[in-house]
Point group: C2
Chain length 592, copies 2
């Protein structure tokens, strides 16, 4: 009814050019009384008054502004400080500098139809360390390799502009601006097109639960934080407090940026449990609604993956069944169960794992804790996955940027466990009924570490990050390692892939991924059994031609199973009706 | 699997007697190293060591302890302070004194089958002010009156033990102990049985989101609060932090107390938005599961009503459709829309209401804001009620303890608006498709106010409550009223019903409730129309024989409608095919 207007959700930043070649600029800035757009043309800044559009939005007159023009905003008539556009697409001089007007073709006209999670295999990469050059262009040259490897979904670590020129990406403060160290927006657009050309979908890792500690000017324009909720990183993003709509719009326009302007196929959404929202419609429901609308309009399938360790199916149930509509979620517990069994680590959250039975539970349900008591959390935890979920919604991994990089020295599993265990662990998760996610380099046994690195500009902050990192690992330092300096350029350089391949590891990954692709089995949860000795896990999936046998024990085993060997590690062999599995050996058999 | 034990949920307090006439005592006290049960027998306290049962539970030996015995606990070997049992059923000397062992028959054997919300009419009462005596026994004598009035569900304001002898009930600190000023546990049990004998269900108002400011000894025994979340009343109850299971069990045993031990038919759950819980299973899901299990075991229908103003259907959807499984919810917005139209008030949250169109929206959807911009909240608010909800799930009211008592002087609507508007407003909500809730006394135009009252024992706290109350209403005091002293006994006395009846009001309520009972219409949302002048709302419900016409304007109207008048206010009449509705008049017509 007309008496009940709603807060309008509108595009932000430099808007597309109109037929006369002019464009307007829009910003949501309810915290500012008076705002001026400053265009940094060759001779001198041209200043234009922004006009109130209602609901805290301000709009410029139509202006002739070609792509490439640098610009910013003056607040309240003061010209001593030029602020970047909160919706800046590019920051050629970094987070503290002016913004640049960008024109991107949209990919709505592409033939690429996208792909869902079913039958998917994900590859997580960090652009800055994936190649020696650390750019989209260099990464594009590796797409043939990735296609041959057998992955069909890329998950790119965050691309937003952070302080400095090197960062994991989670310190972003301008979520619409492409990290300039990786190249220009056109490069990402071309990278995505090139991936599509090889049947590979591209997901962008986005952070909607916090903002970085340096260069965050958003609070100068709008109430991006609320004091109603808190997160491990401080004030929570304002999703349900006063003026939350403009904040929600800001992030939903960010969804549109990646999916519509760049043509990406979905998002990996960081730490959704820290998106605190008591609205009737949770922000993730709004997000999945927007993504679905874009997908329907473009006849493409979008993928939304939540990073979530609550063991709560609500996040990945469809909206019409009371869920938030995420396509899938990361399952940390699967990792922990697998990691603890092959490494024997038992510190921190690994205290909740360590038995083969934990791993069998993970292979069966995805979640390990489905209502049982978690000693680490000191409470009953989780609920069972509902029967109306499908296993492809569970994204599992042997490693990921966090599980490697959040270790003190960023050591990869390849340097910590013998090759036989590495191959066994890899085969187990790659051939689970779930969607595997490979962290760049693990597929060939990369040995270069992936330590935490930043490039802040504020001395106090740099020191605080160093101290925080050292304190976090104080208990580990007596073991002969020291924490790499997060701020040092060498730390970043040391994280780059060497591309020195272990042939056995590379062969296993390629074979396993091609076996998966030949018979996708992620529509049904697996039928799991553990032998009496408690070391052999076997599983199969209804409708699948494969039987997988994994020996997590120090003794070789001989078991009577049907079928011929399609894949094996560590010298598994077959005689007559028997499979001989060496200690820590794995075999996949064809049973049909 | 056996390797994954769960934290056990166990009954608390003095357990029922075994066959040999002995009983054990159980307490969950993980924060205490050593605990002694002290039985206060005639000669001297008998002290028994409590033994660890596991998971923080402690259990006594089987002891011969008759009902009526007073007892308490000594912490860590110190006998200078006797603590009441956190699960005490009765505190004969108040919150700071010893507990008393109570035996209650359960009502599992009753023939009463309970009733759902459909076809229901609720009456909210505060035991202490409902009768001059302020007891359950005195309230029992009024059940015939209530049955004749036509209500079939009672909602009793909180019954837990608060400090002192008078309190609204929301300062409770011993949620299992029956407020001693109202009588003994047997009296409540008998009151509920007597209500059932008249076909009247009884709901207990429970507070699971905070504890009162005086006499809360629970933190001496277990981590009842968490610092992870906050509420308007301070630290949040610990529903999802470490050791949350014992806290959840504590409240779920409280659910069992009212429904199983006392035989009540359901609960009204205070301020559920302040139950902060990021568990995979929200506490309200656990609560509704427990209530449903009791109902199934006893072949009774349980009613759970959430106090919730989030306009979020999630709370009242069934668990299998992603909801929390509440039967219904209070709908404050319906009240605000109705109140604003008949009073013209526009301060505070009333700024969001005031037009007849708001009220028509409330009559249509229950919620007024279903995604539109709420000026008071400064954001788009709510979502539409889903088509798979039914209107009986929406509990609406013209007044309730909060809407009256949270006003500065506790003034009822009867003293603030002319009788014609009072009758119109009453008929509108009583004959809406929703479940009406009557606040005691409004059904006959009670004029005694219902001011806020407490009876604390701590001078600092008493002064703080006085100052808080005065500050809250500072802006209103220039209007010639002063805030009644919440601590004064006279304030409590002044809140007691006078039972002086306005015959016209009483007749309207009785007639409207009997019309409702004759043709329950709360399965379908209403078909609403508003006339061109914007003052006349008419509504009907599919399958109902009634057409309701309500004139919210200062001008009399004549409209052509079919049917004969069944109920009218303010002199509505009928000639030929026309209904003549006076200003602020109401009529219900029989159309079949």
């Amino acid at each position: 009814m007309s008496e009940f207007p709603s807060f309008p959700y509108l595009p932000l930043g430099p808007l597309p050019m109109d037929a006369s070649g002019n464009r307007r600029f829009r910003i949501w800035a309810p915290s500012v009384k008076k705002l001026q757009l400053a265009l940094l043309t060759a001779d001198r800044p041209r200043v234009h008054e922004m006009k109130q559009e209602g609901d805290g939005y301000l709009l410029s007159e139509p202006l002739t502004v070609p792509a490439g023009t640098r610009y910013g905003y003056y607040r309240n008539g003061k010209h001593d400080k030029l602020y970047p556009d909160p919706a800046s697409r590019y920051q050629p001089e970094g987070v503290h500098g002016p913004s640049e007007v960008i024109d991107l073709e949209t990919v709505g006209t592409t033939d690429w139809r996208g792909r869902g999670l079913a039958g998917g295999a994900i590859y997580e990469l960090h652009v800055g360390t994936f190649t020696p050059e650390g750019t989209f262009r260099a990464a594009t040259d590796r797409l043939d390799y990735l296609q041959d490897l057998g992955v069909n979904i890329l998950e790119i670590m965050p691309l937003n502009q952070t302080p400095g020129d090197r960062n994991w990406g989670y310190d972003g403060v301008l979520p619409f601006a492409l990290f300039r160290a990786y190249g220009r927006p056109e490069d990402l657009r071309d990278f995505i097109k090139a991936a599509h050309g090889r049947g590979i979908a591209v997901l962008i890792d986005v952070i909607y639960n916090h903002l970085g500690p340096e260069g965050n000017y958003l609070p100068k324009f709008f109430p991006v934080f609320t004091e109603q909720h808190h997160t491990p990183w401080g004030s929570a993003i304002n999703f349900d407090d006063r003026q939350a709509d403009g904040v929600r719009n800001y992030w939903l326009q960010n969804v549109r940026l990646w999916l519509e302007e760049y043509g990406a196929d979905g998002l990996r959404i960081d730490a959704v449990h820290a998106i605190k929202d008591y609205s009737a419609e949770h922000f993730l429901e709004s997000l999945s609604t927007v993504a679905d609308e874009i997908g329907q309009r473009q006849n493409r399938e979008m993928i939304l993956i939540a990073e979530c360790d609550l063991n709560a199916p609500r996040y990945i149930l469809p909206r019409e069944r009371g869920g938030y509509g995420m396509s899938g979620q990361w399952v940390d517990e699967f990792h922990h169960a697998l990691h603890a069994v092959v490494t024997g680590e038992s510190r921190g959250y690994y205290e909740d794992f360590g038995q083969v039975e934990h791993l069998a539970k993970a292979l069966r349900d995805g979640y390990v804790y489905t209502g049982q008591y978690s000693p680490h959390r000191q409470r009953n935890f989780g609920v069972p996955p509902r029967s109306d979920l499908f296993p492809a919604q569970f994204v599992v991994f042997l490693q990921n940027h966090d599980q490697v990089g959040n270790r003190m020295i960023g050591d990869r599993l390849s340097e910590n466990i013998p090759e036989d265990k590495y191959l066994l662990a890899a085969a187990t998760y790659l051939l689970s009924p779930f969607t595997p996610l490979i962290f760049m380099g693990e597929e060939y046994g990369e040995r270069n570490r992936f330590p935490y690195f930043v490039h802040h500009g504020d001395d106090g902050l740099i020191e605080a990050v160093r101290r925080g990192r050292a304190a976090e690992f104080a208990a580990f330092q007596h073991e002969g390692h020291t924490v790499p300096d997060p701020q040092a350029k060498e730390t970043f350089q040391s994280a780059k892939l060497s591309w020195e391949k272990n042939a056995r590891v590379a062969e296993l990954y390629r074979t396993a991924l091609h076996l998966r692709a030949a018979a996708p089995t992620d529509y049904t949860f697996a039928d799991i059994s553990v032998d009496q000795a408690g070391t052999l896990i076997t599983w199969t999936v209804a409708g699948s031609p494969y039987l997988h046998c994994a020996n997590f024990g120090d003794a070789a085993l001989t078991v009577e199973v049907p079928g011929r060997i399609l894949l094996q590690t560590n010298g598994a062999t077959r005689t007559d009706r028997h499979l001989h599995l060496p200690a820590w050996g794995f075999a996949t058999l064809a049973t049909q």
